[in-house]
């Protein structure tokens, strides 16, 4: 058998954890090989080893049957291995072209950069694979989807033959995912080999030839994708059966909790409003979901409701009270909780302990404050309770520093804090981003439970599966406007995609 890549018995230990424990991965020439595993299973680590970012403690790597040493990305490049990283490796204030040539620059006199040939090659590649990138655009100005194409171009530009895609679809819209799959197939047809990491089983079913499953750093199995069902895959991944359907009763909406009325937001320097006359309501006992492609004003909507930004026009009411100009603190106090989109930037103080993070929004309340001093005993007791209740795992319980925890557990801590604040309105922005199925299931359950105990939930999500399974009502946002208000039962993913892409508008939302 001709393997393009063989990673044999790879072991890699980080302080405190064996991220890879005797893992073997064999990728055939010209195949799309999926790599499946829960969060923290060790997929990214394994790939980083292949790409030369880490050195394995044990094990060897063969390329086309020949054993090789990959000490750094330059070596990887030498063996024509390229990688699209889970966290993009792009310099935000460089142009697309500069990012692509970085590390393999052509130079002329006095080391001056010579970009003309590179530019031509980039344009050619962009055209050939329908990538549509502008080589002179700055990274910070282009969409996430476009950034990913830059990452792909980086590989193509280097004429790589073995392409690693680490969770490329997490940040893409359905249409973009389709396009990516298309591109991947095209690449295969040219004889390249692809390693494809994703948590989404239908993507694996759609494109992958074979799939290697790892769990908690250990090798589980390699299967022919065509021969196994999604259920089998997920069972192998988590070690037990998984329930994909969110159990929930019919929503029984009562009083209006949140009312957004004609909200318009145009920051200084922007030439068009990012939010345009947005109006909607969220009632007690329902989960309303804002769906849409990333960058259509969802973040801005949340910032305006939660008070980070001040709207240009329009009003926000909470329980009938106008809170448009009140401070964030006042909003929290009058019944608003937010699970922010960016957990590291907005959700946690990473250098605080779990316990300190648990009271981040309530430290000044009588439960935790005595004459200006913090009641540490009360804090710890409260935190221990939440940790127990929400199964937040960390080394030293309440005392653990948040920075040292895995992403999933950090997220659980935030969810615990926000839900337990028992606020009338819970705004949850991408609460399950990048988490594994187990964690996702748990968080979804909590959100539904919260709804059922007489609270209003505003969910903002890019994941269509989540949108359809969790919400009671879907509002689709496109270019800063609400373009549809639909019932999840009456709609499928395809149609939702049309609304999201702006090619269709809902009843009552016509132009």
């Amino acid at each position: 058998m001709d393997y393009a890549i063989e990673m044999l018995n790879i072991t890699k230990e980080f302080p405190g954890i064996k991220a890879n424990d005797n893992i073997t991965l064999q990728v055939k020439e010209g195949e799309i090989h999926a790599l499946l595993g829960e969060n923290g299973a060790g997929k990214s680590t394994l790939m980083s080893i292949l790409f030369g970012l880490y050195q394995p403690d044990e094990g060897k790597i063969k390329i086309h049957g020949k054993e090789v040493l990959i000490n750094d990305p330059n070596d990887a490049n030498k063996y024509k291995i390229g990688m699209v990283h889970q966290h993009f490796k792009l310099v935000h204030n460089f142009t697309v072209l500069e990012n692509i040539i970085l590390g393999i620059e052509e130079t002329g006199l006095f080391g001056k950069l010579k970009n003309s040939e590179a530019r031509k090659k980039v344009m050619d590649l962009s055209q050939r694979y329908h990538l549509n990138v502008d080589p002179d655009a700055k990274i910070e100005d282009i969409t996430v989807g476009m950034q990913q194409r830059v990452e792909i171009l980086k590989m193509l530009f280097r004429d790589n033959e073995i392409l690693i895609f680490d969770e490329p679809t997490a940040v893409l819209t359905p249409q973009e995912i389709d396009e990516l799959m298309h591109i991947m197939k095209e690449l295969i047809s040219e004889g390249k080999s692809i390693i494809f990491i994703t948590h989404k089983l239908n993507e694996i079913k759609a494109v992958a030839d074979r799939c290697t499953i790892i769990r908690k750093g250990r090798y589980v199995d390699t299967v022919n994708v065509a021969d196994v069902s999604k259920d089998v895959l997920s069972e192998k991944m988590v070690g037990h059966k998984v329930n994909f359907i969110v159990d929930k009763d019919e929503a029984k909406p009562t009083d209006t909790v949140l009312k957004v009325d004609g909200l318009t937001y145009q920051p200084k320097g922007a030439n068009k409003p990012l939010l345009n006359n947005v109006s909607f309501e969220v009632k007690k006992g329902e989960i309303v979901c804002i769906a849409g492609i990333d960058g259509n004003g969802q973040s801005e909507l949340v910032y305006n409701i939660s008070g980070i930004e001040k709207p240009t026009a329009g009003h926000v009411y909470l329980n009938g009270q106008d809170i448009t100009t009140t401070s964030i603190r006042e909003r929290n106090d009058s019944g608003m909780a937010v699970i922010p989109e960016d957990r590291h930037k907005h959700g946690l103080v990473l250098d605080y302990s779990v316990a300190e993070n648990m009271i981040l929004k309530s430290y000044y309340k009588p439960e935790f404050e005595k004459h200006g001093f913090i009641d540490f005993d009360a804090m710890n007791a409260y935190s221990d309770k939440l940790i127990e209740q929400y199964d937040v795992r960390s080394g030293e319980g309440s005392k653990s520093i948040a920075r040292g925890m895995s992403g999933g557990n950090q997220q659980k801590a935030i969810v615990a804090r926000e839900i337990e604040s028992d606020s009338d309105l819970l705004i949850a922005v991408q609460p399950t981003r990048g988490l594994d199925v187990g964690a996702i299931e748990f968080i979804h359950k909590q959100i539904v439970k919260h709804r059922d105990s007489e609270h209003a939930v505003l969910l903002v999500s890019l994941e269509l599966d989540e949108v359809i399974t969790v919400s009671d009502r879907i509002l689709v946002m496109y270019e800063g406007e609400i373009v549809a208000d639909v019932n999840p039962k009456d709609i499928d993913v395809k149609e939702l995609g049309l609304y999201m892409a702006g090619s269709k508008r809902g009843i009552g939302y016509e132009k």
Partner: protein
């Protein structure tokens, strides 16, 4: 494996102290080597004098150590306090100087205040002046995003020039081209400290300084206010998202830091030791000398007490070393080397971990070997 001593050595604070001690040891060693090269004949004697100088003349020297530690303890505390909330308060020299000026102005000119409390009011006003001086970078940072390092540097010179002008206009002692000095009656009282530390320059200011360090520690670690300040320092965005007023926190942390620096200046010039503000356009060195104190003390207010005492101690020792032919700048070199190695904390801690682990492995291996 989890016995008590292991727990102690695993504590982060223990590791910090150990790594500080290692830094100090290396600094002293480097100092010794340098003296040996420069003057082998006197080297050992000089080194010994430096190490024991703080006790050279008994309680007198010790009292001097305590007295000299006060200004840098306060400027160090100022830097440490702001550093905890994420800002590098390089404007300390200016804050220190305006504090000194206002305190002297009151000490000398506000004769309507009774002697018994004049010093206290002067210290408070000095602190407020320092706070005001730090308020400018604070508000510029909060409202206009001006980098605190650059505004601090500018405010240092503005303060220096204005203080000199102020001294010339209000409290000028023309025969010496310096400010008037506070009379012993209106100086900070000694409350018996002069009996314990006979002949030294110590006064009650030392107690105030230590008390302020402790208060700062309590504010930082025990109060909701400190909780807000630290949260802002670690992650401004998260603090804001959680409903804290991060603008206020930035301003307040700098203002409090400025207050400490101002009090430091006030205490230094109200000691009744004849210390006067000079009319020369040079920033007071105590300001910048606070930086190593804060850094050696891990930006911990209590750490600042020990760090300033240590620095004062070897400086007093260094002063006695002048009886030999060794340039006393070797003290500055030693302190610099110590600060340099203090920056290795992270590395030293990792090494400590490695060392412990390998010992663990060895004992384990030995046990297994024994079992076979």
């Amino acid at each position: 494996m989890k016995n008590k001593s292991a727990g102690f050595f695993e504590k982060d604070s223990t590791k910090s102290v150990i790594s500080s001690l290692i830094a100090i040891l290396i600094g002293l060693l480097v100092g010794l080597v340098i003296i040996l090269i420069a003057n082998p004949a006197d080297a050992l004697e000089g080194f010994l004098i430096m190490l024991t100088g703080g006790f050279q003349e008994g309680m007198l020297s010790l009292g001097d150590v305590l007295a000299y530690s006060v200004p840098v303890m306060m400027t160090g505390l100022s830097i440490a306090f702001a550093y905890k909330t994420g800002e590098f308060n390089i404007g300390v020299p200016g804050q220190y100087y305006v504090g000194a000026f206002v305190a002297l102005l009151i000490g000398v000119k506000a004769t309507f205040l009774p002697d018994a409390i004049a010093w206290l009011i002067a210290i408070i006003c000095g602190g407020l002046a320092g706070a005001l001086w730090a308020f400018v970078p604070g508000i510029l940072k909060a409202k206009r995003n001006v980098n605190v390092v650059i505004s601090g540097i500018m405010m240092n010179y503005v303060g220096l020039l204005l203080v000199i002008r102020g001294v010339k206009t209000f409290i000028y002692e023309s025969t010496g081209a310096q400010s008037l000095t506070v009379s012993t009656e209106r100086a900070i009282p000694k409350f018996g400290l002069d009996v314990i530390f006979e002949g030294s320059s110590i006064n009650f200011g030392f107690v105030i300084a230590v008390a302020l360090c402790i208060v700062a520690w309590i504010i930082m670690n025990k109060t909701t206010f400190g909780y807000e300040l630290k949260a802002t320092g670690f992650n401004k965005d998260a603090a804001k998202y959680a409903g804290m007023n991060e603008t206020k926190a930035v301003i307040m942390s700098l203002v409090i830091a400025g207050l400490f620096a101002g009090v430091g200046g006030a205490i230094a010039y109200l000691g009744g030791t004849g210390k006067a503000i000079q009319i020369s356009e040079v920033l007071p060195p105590e300001g910048f000398n606070g930086i190593p104190v804060a850094l050696l003390g891990f930006s911990n207010p209590i750490g600042c007490i020990f760090a300033s005492l240590f620095i004062a101690y070897i400086n007093v020792g260094g002063n006695y070393m002048q009886s030999l032919n060794i340039a006393i700048e070797v003290i500055d070199i030693i302190v610099a080397v110590i600060v340099y190695f203090a920056s290795f904390t992270l590395f030293i801690k990792l090494m400590l971990d490695k060392f412990r682990n390998s010992k663990k492995h060895k004992t384990l291996a030995a046990k297994e070997g024994g079992n076979k």
